[in-house]
Symmetry: C2
Subunit: 222 residues, 2 copies
DNA sequence: TAAAATGTTATGGCTGCCCTTATTATTCCA
DNA sequence: TGGAATAATAAGGGCAGCCATAACATTTTA
């Protein structure tokens, strides 16, 4: 139980893989894009990770986490989501900003600190974006939410979670109140992969399909 | 106001200089020792810092922070000491451990987070070891405590602060209750640079001179 | 099935930050 | 004042993690 520790770069690769892929292998190009590096560099790094037994790489097919790699990734995710809770609930920082701030802190947090933080927060089950927080053993429940574009027009739904989107999308969603717990209705779906029109608190809000993909919802009862 | 950001290594060099020297230049060897690197490497790095205008290096004399370098150092110290408060008071971690944990977090903390943390903590004036926390503008009061070895036998004193010592010294002091606020008396001073014998809560405690140098105290009234 | 897209490998380069060994310069102290 | 201690410089190296460019392999797609 030496509790080996990994570099920030390695942790980010593993977290990125875990966030992106729930089973199926991830293409090198996708990884490069998400981490904002060149595909050649991503390829190099994946080889290093492979040598360390953290990922499995099938050339031309993609990259998958090994059990060991997933363990590290889940641990990083736990740290990040706990910090997100702290930053939002106790430091009152912006919902749209806590992901990025926590993404720095996650690499500077020892196990003892992580567990003390979890206790302080009361062992929260989800982060402010509705994503599950793994427990100390790496276990977490998989959400039953459905991507917003899969919902029929007219249905009432409640936002369950927001997958981590690139760039300024979180700020965009926050401005429009598209956050976990928010109830809304799909008013209209434009043809030809067009935007959704939502009704939120009596206001109409247009949302592009690409962004809507990041929003998971559950159908309202009744 | 681009708020340039520095590497962890640079921040540690600057913080080390600020913690060690209150005016007089610091020898390269001292820096190397504190950062656990070779003097040759320290020399190299000091040259890089010099080129960046963060320190002034007079060959064979020593290294001093520039105004710019001191600004960065004070900012790092602020972040660290705020985190120390949080870790001790809210996460209930060990007094002897919070310095090291905070030393990781300090490099991963954006200005917005720092200020929100300061507010959350109620703008504490000192860290758990009694050292002052600079304010947002980098200002702080210099303590009036005296190193323990400078006190006469028989005097009652109160521990004001503990300078950051190397290695396991903090744990050693915690076990013996030598922490800020603790009242104690110098019972005896052994000759030949020998240890001090202290009376703490009715118990006698021996403390080596080297360690006692890290303990700053104030004389008791009355 | 051929062209386009994507992935892989090779080569060479870069920065940051650390190392060792050896030589030379300066300062301190007895 | 001369030797010991400390500091500086030079030369060569290593590792992590990125970059670009070019050649080649595979897969996708139209
Ligand atoms: Mn991160
Ligand atoms: Mn989140
Ligand atoms: Mn540090
Ligand atoms: Mn402290």
């Amino acid at each position: 139980m030496t509790e080996k520790t990994f570099t920030e770069s390695i942790e980010m690769y593993l977290k990125t893989l875990a966030e992106a892929g729930l089973g199926e292998p991830i293409a090198i190009g996708k990884i490069a894009e998400k981490l904002n590096i060149t595909p050649v560099s991503a390829n190099e790094m994946v080889q290093r990770l492979s040598r360390q037994g953290l990922v499995r790489h099938t050339p031309y097919k993609g990259v998958e986490l090994t059990k060991k790699g997933r363990g590290v990734a889940v641990d990083v995710i736990r740290r990040q989501r706990l910090w997100e809770c702290f930053l939002l609930e106790h430091l009152n920082l912006e919902w749209s900003q806590v992901y990025d701030f926590a993404c720095s802190l996650e690499h500077a947090t020892a196990p003892i600190v992580t567990e003390a933080l979890a206790k302080f927060l009361g062992f929260p089950k989800t982060c402010p974006h509705g994503n599950p927080i793994p427990d100390e053993n790496g276990n977490f429940e998989i959400l039953d939410g459905i991507p917003l574009p899969a919902i029929e027009v007219g249905k009432n739904v409640i936002v369950q979670s927001i997958k981590h989107p690139p760039g300024d999308v979180l700020a965009y969603l926050q401005e429009r109140n598209i956050m976990p717990g928010q109830q809304l209705q799909i008013a209209e779906v434009a043809p030809m992969e067009g935007p959704l029109t939502l009704e939120i608190n009596g206001r109409e809000v247009a949302l592009g399909l690409n962004i809507a993909e990041f929003v998971n919802v559950t159908l309202c009862e009744e």
